[in-house]
Symmetry: C2
Subunit: 329 residues, 2 copies
């Protein structure tokens, strides 16, 4: 069935009917703007991510349900990296006319399922037809007490550099997808990343993380953002970067990808943060409670620059930049 069978307003009504309600929502979908309250004393957190067909995803890769989940997950990950509590989402879509209604229905189900899981209410957005591919633009609003918010700029010399979960899986999954494989753990990590919302909030509220970012551009590039913002340097033992069993099984140690994907692959959506060494055990306990792990991978130095080496002392050239959307065009 085509979208034209239900029309723009029918599609919006069907989304609104499934969107649920939030007691803090004064006006939801269906007026000129939504009206919602932020908890007393809290600061509003806002983030936006846009996913474009042919750039961030390929319709042939996976199911629409996962795409709906991921389009919210990448924003949840940003709120998590501030230590915030996600609250409200706005979803704007530019939809190619030929896309089946069933695709968009499944997309919306995935988006709303993810929203419900993390306590997020869909409060607005926009729909349009697209003369190009599908474009998904999400804004996520969250909140946190001002003194609990964790910025990128708070890293101090001598602190540890830590990372949640494992690295490189999503980048490996992307390579597998591009090679025509649609199954497996790494592919799942790429199509359906798990944002570390509970851990980010816990690290912030316990005052453990001094600086934090989520890994979207790649470990080295995102650590570079923390170092730049904090005016510090870093030393990382790349043998300590956490790798999944699936990654170790798929990528031989001799292969360049064994180093490259965890360092610079990107889209891990793990949390990268700094803390005083005395708080590492506390961070590990919070991670365990949140169903993940924390690996200590290096330390912050007073001098600028990022130094990457393995346990044998072999230096790796600093990997900078991450993905540039306009490079090579």
């Amino acid at each position: 069935m085509k979208l034209s069978a239900v029309g723009e307003f029918g599609f919006i009504r069907s989304i609104a009917a499934q969107a649920g309600t939030d007691p803090a929502l004064l006006v939801g979908i269906g007026d000129d703007a939504a009206a919602a309250s932020i908890s007393p004393g809290m600061i509003l957190l806002s983030t936006a991510d846009l996913l474009a067909e042919g750039v961030h995803f390929d319709l042939g890769w996976g199911d629409a349900y996962s795409l709906g989940k991921k389009s919210l997950a990448v924003n949840l990950s940003d709120i998590a990296a501030m230590g915030g509590v996600p609250r409200y989402a706005l979803l704007s879509l530019a939809i190619p006319p030929q896309l089946p209604l069933e695709f968009m229905t499944s997309f919306v189900s995935g988006f709303l399922g993810q929203a419900a899981k993390y306590g997020v209410a869909l409060i607005g957005g926009d729909t349009s037809s697209s003369r190009g591919g599908l474009v998904v633009s999400v804004t996520l609003l969250g909140e946190q007490l001002p003194e609990k918010i964790v910025r990128r700029s708070g890293a101090r010399a001598g602190e540890l550099i830590c990372v949640s979960g494992t690295l490189g899986d999503a980048a490996l999954g992307l390579k597998q997808l591009q090679a025509g494989h649609c199954q497996g753990e790494a592919v799942r990590c790429h199509l359906d990343p798990v944002p570390r919302v509970e851990l980010g909030k816990a690290l912030a509220e316990a005052g453990i993380a001094s600086a934090m970012i989520d890994i979207s551009d790649g470990f080295a590039a995102d650590l570079g953002h923390i170092l730049d913002s904090s005016g510090k340097g870093g030393r990382v033992n790349i043998d300590l970067l956490p790798l999944s069993a699936a990654f170790r099984e798929s990528v031989p140690r001799e292969c360049a990808d064994y180093r490259r994907l965890p360092l610079a692959g990107g889209e891990d959506y793990e949390l990268l943060f700094t803390l005083p060494g005395a708080l590492l055990a506390d961070a590990r306990a919070l991670a365990a409670a949140a169903g993940t792990t924390v690996a200590e991978v290096g330390s912050i130095t007073a001098d600028g620059g990022l130094f990457l080496a393995d346990s044998a002392g072999t230096c790796y050239e600093t990997v900078v930049g991450g993905y540039d959307h306009f490079a090579g065009d």
Copy 2:
């Protein structure tokens, strides 16, 4: 020059450098999420609009500067229709690689100029390349006291139906653009609409408007939204619909467009609102102070349905629907 010459991060840095600051902004562009405060006692207003090349605009029609202004104006108009004060914007862009850097620089200048004019701080967003056309997705956040917010649902039987400014100009401008004309008052109305932010806020804070909407789908369709939400009907004398001198000069009275464009053309971005008759003079005074006018065009009835007639009593079929993005696909 191409965008690749400055790169994604260079483009974002240049936007951030121009974005200015806001004293209520704890964290601006450059962290995982922005952190901003909402004024004490205020409710957060949120709206989003997406503009897609080939659907909402044609790159050949006008300057990028106006497109930047318009992409914020359509959101400002939504906050105005709630009676809110606009505060913070997030701008997400999917940019075709071949688009010149100068185009996007001019677009951003227009957007930020508009933001500064209305006291809005750009606090976030996202940039991506696009395999289709240019897509502009904006989220605008505003605020207002809960008791001052004006919804669509507050119209009461016997109240007057009023509209600000003039109708049909933007739709006439679109027709002229599609016919290859790039100049003139109507074209300007289409490319660079003026959101009625000051009037919307004033009508709300003075407690004058009982229901309000901005006219994006067309007068009849948007009045239909107020009537549906309020559970009321309406009678409109279409001879009272306010027309500009430029519109009257361009469109003969015998032409179907003379009725059609003001009733159903859309994209007027004027305010359509209801009020008790005793407050009409106050509304007119507020409009004069805001540099526009208010026309009384009809009244709210207890019975459902929208009845459109001219002064001679000739009925016009109810025009419903407005623009459906998925119709005819």
